[in-house]
Amino acid sequence: MNVEMPVEIVGVLLLGLGYLALLFGCGFAVERGWVPVRITRHPIVYTLALGVYASAWAIYGSVEMAAHAGFGYLAYYLGAAGAFLLAPVLLVPIQRITRTYQLSSLADLFAFRFRSRWAGTLVTLVSLLAVLPLLGIQVQTLSEAINIVTASQAGGSIALLFCAVIAAFAVIFGARHSQSHGRHDTLLSAIAFESIVKLLAMLGLGAVALWMVFDGPGDLQLWLEGPGALLQQQTPKLDPAQWRTLLLLFFAAAFMMPHLFHISFSESLSRHTLLQASWALPLFLLLMALPVPLIWWAAQSVNTDIPIAAYAAYLMTEHWWVGALAFIGGLAAASGTMIMIALALSGMILNHIVLVARPPEARSDLYGWLLWLRRGLVVAVIIGGWLFYQWVGRHHGLIGLGLAAFVGMAQCLPGMLALLYWPGANRKGMVIGLIAGVGVWLWGLWLPLMLSLPVPTLPVTPLTDPGAPVWYNVTLLSLAVNILLLIVISLFTRISEGEQTAAEACSVDAVIRSKRFPLEAATASDFSTHLAHALGDEAASREVNRALQALNLTPQERRPYALRRLRDRIQANLSGLMGPSVARDIVDRYLPYRHDDTPETDDIHFVESRLEAYRSRLTGLARELDGLRRHHRQTLAYLPVGLCVLGDDDELLMWNQALSQLSGISGESVIGSRRDSLPAPWPRLLGSALEATPGPLYKQAVALHGRDYFLTLHKAILSGNDSRGGSVILIEDHTEMKWLEDELVHAARLASIGQLAAGVAHEIGNPITGISSLAQNLRYDTNDPALLETADQIQQLTQRVTKIVNSLVGFAHGGRQSVPIPASPVALASISEDALHLIHLARSGEDVILTNETPDDVVVRGDAQRLTQVMVNLLSNARDACDQGGEVHITAGCQGQLAWWRIVDNGQGIDPRVRDHLFEPFTTTKPAGEGTGLGLSLAYQIINEHQGKIDVASPPPGQPRGTAITLWLPLYQQDDQPTHAQDSDC
């Protein structure tokens, strides 16, 4: 038998399937990357996706509402706009909690805050019951629109076909991964596309009404003042109390309906995106609402008798494309809502009903199992919507169905507000209040709707009005009971410790004082082993690695702080996978804390990291205080003295930059670890400082990165009323001071030896004079040539001794800086010779060849003894720098008005590290005790006083090694007058 399909049905099928094919095309285009990311991740896409709030109700239900309540239809839009206008105080805190703890649904949030899996299950059941009528509305509008367009009863079957395609879309683009939390760019872009389509459809219908049915705004106004005035006066007016109740219902629905909660908090890019939606979504809703009265008035102006007000758009004109526009707008709105409801609700059912009833076992295909469960639930929810329409929805109007849904969802509002603003609310109060409120709703509104029962008689209370619609009375009664029980029971029952912690984490102004406990697992790799009992090897390893990557940690991580953060991250990730209740159970069981004798302390580092993360959200006094905290922290961090802070449990809380430089250990790598797990010698050193009473530990000798250091440690115990315990240790590097002290001792010893030597030299002078006189006498007393020669030799030798003694005494007196430089002629050759004499007195360096090639005619202006001191210091350095058999040459010459005097050696040269501060006091490369580091400094000072300068070349030009030091001194001129007699104190 050949059955021909009417052309209208074919047309609707083509139109509907064509639109859905376009939606698939949009999805594929985004997925393949044909649409730039800057578009798909633009905040406007997020706002348009939030436009999913404007479901089929906005296309058809609003027109019906306008017909029955005039501008009362605006409650649907203004309620949602109000919720988003309050985004900074309402939505942003919810977003913060859901992001931090990876909560993807209202049920997750309730289960997390009230620390009860049953709270999550209860909210899921309420959401399911409340959303079914809303799903039914979407199918109903589609089905009845098809019936009207095709003038047949094929709407139900065609709607089922569309539902199947919509379910396929939801599975392909929304349930690709097992994780329900996290942004789906493809899905969000497709929903945004649907919002654009329905907005254009509504604006198009409004334009048709205004310019095709009426002749523009003027004509509309004339109609409203003329023939339409009577019709409008006949429109019932919504009671102000009912209007406010409607506003409240839509306000709650705007962020608590499963699909809206999902988009608002699971898909939003950032806080900024959400705040942008606070004005952009109300604008979108304004544009959606604007054409509604136009459509209704246009339909009224054409047909005064409209059988189904909801579909007035089809009655405005005879043009087929106007009907097609209304149909596409309705399909876009219905399909978007169904997709998002199915995805959101499937996640809730999976996490809070399926996984609670049947916890996941250690299985190799955990992810696949979760994914297929979720896909099945997505399809089941959409088909459930169609079944609801078939059994229940088709017998009721859109307003009745919609209000049943919104009143049900509003039952979660008291719990949600308590969650954000009342840390004292507890599980018992919330659950009993919710059950009672839902009970009233089911009994008064939902069951009569489902089972076509007569509306029950509600008890007379001061709140209810016997003449008011049943939805109004049920709303007031159920919410009043709900709120009352929540408050009373919470006030008179105890709140558990876990719940208190969660309440603080959720509360807007809570002071969070996280405690820290050690974990049973000692390293990050232990986590995989422990979790494998619950998740199986593969999933456990994958989850641990994912958390490690997110935190930038390694599997070898042992720091207690890092392990606690790893545990939190794994719990949050598992929460996104299988809900907070199951995640918490798994983590508590397999990654437990150790409650031993360790003192309970605040997790200051965690609190700080949270403050850093939320810094941009702080305002007013809190922001100022945070600025002050950062300032103090930076003061400690950049303190030029090493500083570390240890908690009472020996956990390291601070390790500043100076200490990082001193120890070679970065703060990031050790903060959060125990003192005993620090690299040597720090555990012993810090332990000694902590045990030392009462004073500091002075100059503790330690070896750090191959060098010897002397550290002084000061300790203070952090105590007092507001203190969180612990100790602060200051670590000063006294290595240089210790070295200077040693050098000073050495220099003092040398100075005393020098004084002794000068005294001895002075004393030697008398006997030498005596010996010389005796030798002179001997020459007069004999003519024996042999004796005369001996007497000459004795005299020469005594002269030599006298000369040496004079040089030594002169050198000893040369350090006196207060004496002005005399302008005496000084022959550099004799100075060089004197210096060589003195150098030869030293026992060391006897195998170094010292040669003096200074010409006799180079005469400079200056102080012979101070220049001798310079030359002795330079020769001494040159000789010490030479190896065995090394050579040192002294040369001199004239250049213009200056004489140059050069000491060249072929020794080791000057270390480049000390070259820049060669002439600074205490600069030496000699081992401690062998050099004072003062010689070159003194030489520089003396040459400077002589108006000369020093050039250093190491190695000298043309030589592979060694050093050449050239002194430039002013030549002696004949007109130079000596200002003082040369010091002749010898």
Partner: protein
């Protein structure tokens, strides 16, 4: 918090006074688009407050 207080005040004030919006439906003297003009004004105010908040946070 200053901005939030303005917002709370506006939203709750608007909530209490909002039934007045419905009077325009059957009043031929009032322009039919009056509720939308008020609504648009509220959106503009929110946009201004949002810009102010962004500047404050910089």
């Amino acid at each position: 918090m200053y901005v939030y207080r303005i917002m709370l005040f506006l939203v709750f004030g608007g909530y209490l006074l909002s039934p007045l919006l419905m009077n325009g439906w059957s009043d031929p003297e009032a322009a039919w688009y009056r509720p939308f003009v008020i609504w648009g004004g509220l959106i503009a105010l929110t946009l201004w407050l949002e810009q102010k908040r962004k500047l404050d946070e910089r």
